[in-house]
Symmetry: C2
Subunit: 234 residues, 2 copies
DNA sequence: GTTGATTGGGCTAGTGTCAGACCATTGATG
DNA sequence: CATCAATGGTCTGACACTAGCCCAATCAAC
């Protein structure tokens, strides 16, 4: 029964490591940037500083972070996304299992399509339109290094602009579950061009207030990514 | 930042109470039925028996459960959904806040539409079609007492049939967030008839494999509910 | 240099949570 | 009526987590 599932995914330490890894891998804190101060971060995460420090130390020992003391010190992100490698891809898929993979792709398809449709259905302020266009432009201008991070930011803006934090959280969660996969896919120019066209279509549909077109555009975009995945796996 | 939100919603006791309340209010365990034995339930929920017992005692003291000892004993559900009352509705909305209300409705719209679209897009086995039709028939044959519970079961089957447990969980969560509201809405025959028509349309679209029609049908259904809510609130 | 603000590092006492064992009660079955 | 299996009730020792406090290091500003 869906509702009588475990109340907690693990202990506080494990969940904190997981969450920080999310922030790093999704590029919420990019390479070279630093996490908020421990005291502040502990409050945001709703845990004690002791537990947070244990998590940070684990990530430090795994070479994700470089921790420096003193004023202007902090926990700096050293992690840079690995170069795409289809060998990694197979390994990642083997780690997560094909069932979980299908689950994650289905979930992402549902929530991102839903978010785009909802966003297109509602009225948008000028600021919101500007933000969306800005994020789109960011992705289009992105170099290879920044592409995934800015692509993530674009997708998440769509969810955040709906004004529903539940929905934004769900989309962030969905994105995270496929981020290791996406990072392992080689970025070929032809695919990037294709994605760019689809991104344009998504934004156009949202700005036009065409809910069904928005859903269809996101659906095609994600289906394209899934097909790419299947291609590199077979 | 969405990703640096609290790692845990509360302590184990609080989360457990919340989860059991979900099971009771969503009708996963109906009035008169009993929860699984403590030892078993504790394993399912991933918590210790001590913590589970504290949660059960809290629900017992709040008159949701009747706990009996001995063989054939257990924690029996005594809670029956209150009679719809628009006064309750205003109170519930005041409790959750209008922002959270909008958030919950938006979230539900996105995930349920997404689930229906995904389900319609994929191929269905005969068993799956049967289950869907069965749930639809259950709602149509339901009395006033059982209506909400079977309506919930119908909506959740759509999500569960996608095969994505992440999606099923998201839909259950969304439903829960509006269940107090739905329970407070009077059930007028005209509304029930309207819902029945919409349910039929949803199932028809899914069985026909028409993804966009499925999304549209769910969208109209949920928009209808939202409109009903706004009506009783103004 | 010296200072002071900011940040990570470490300690302690108290509370929450857990696993496992054992006790108490109930009621169908023989 | 006696038995016994299933179930809730209780206790204990160990570990996880927290809040709060103070120490140590760093570096810009003076």
């Amino acid at each position: 029964m869906t509702v009588l599932r475990p109340v907690r995914a693990g202990n506080a330490f494990e969940e904190t490591v997981e969450r920080l890894l999310q922030a790093i891998k999704l590029g919420v804190v990019g390479p070279g940037e630093k996490l908020p101060p421990e005291r502040e971060l502990a409050v945001q995460l709703g845990i004690s500083r002791v537990t947070l420090r244990e998590a940070i130390r684990a990530l430090q020992e795994a070479d994700y972070l470089d921790v420096r003391r003193g004023r202007y010190g902090g926990a700096f992100v050293t992690y840079v996304p690995p170069r795409p490698d289809t060998g990694d891809l197979r390994r990642v898929v083997a780690d997560m299992g094909t069932d979980d993979l299908a689950d994650a792709l289905t979930f992402r398809m549902a929530v991102e399509c839903g978010a785009a449709a909802v966003l297109a259905a509602g009225p948008l302020t000028g600021d919101q339109r500007d933000l969306l266009c800005r994020r789109l432009a960011d992705v289009n201008e992105a170099g290879v290094e920044d592409y995934r991070r800015l692509d993530t930011a674009f997708h998440l803006s769509v969810a955040e602009l709906t004004g529903s934090s539940l929905l934004a959280t769900a989309c962030a969660d969905a994105r995270l579950r496929v981020s290791d996969l996406l990072n392992a896919i080689p970025m070929l120019q032809v695919n990037l061009d294709h994605s760019a066209t689809q991104h344009e279509a998504i934004v156009a549909a949202i700005l036009a207030g065409d809910s069904e077109a928005a859903r269809r555009a996101v659906s095609e975009h994600l289906e394209g990514t899934a097909a790419l995945l299947r291609g590199f796996l077979s």
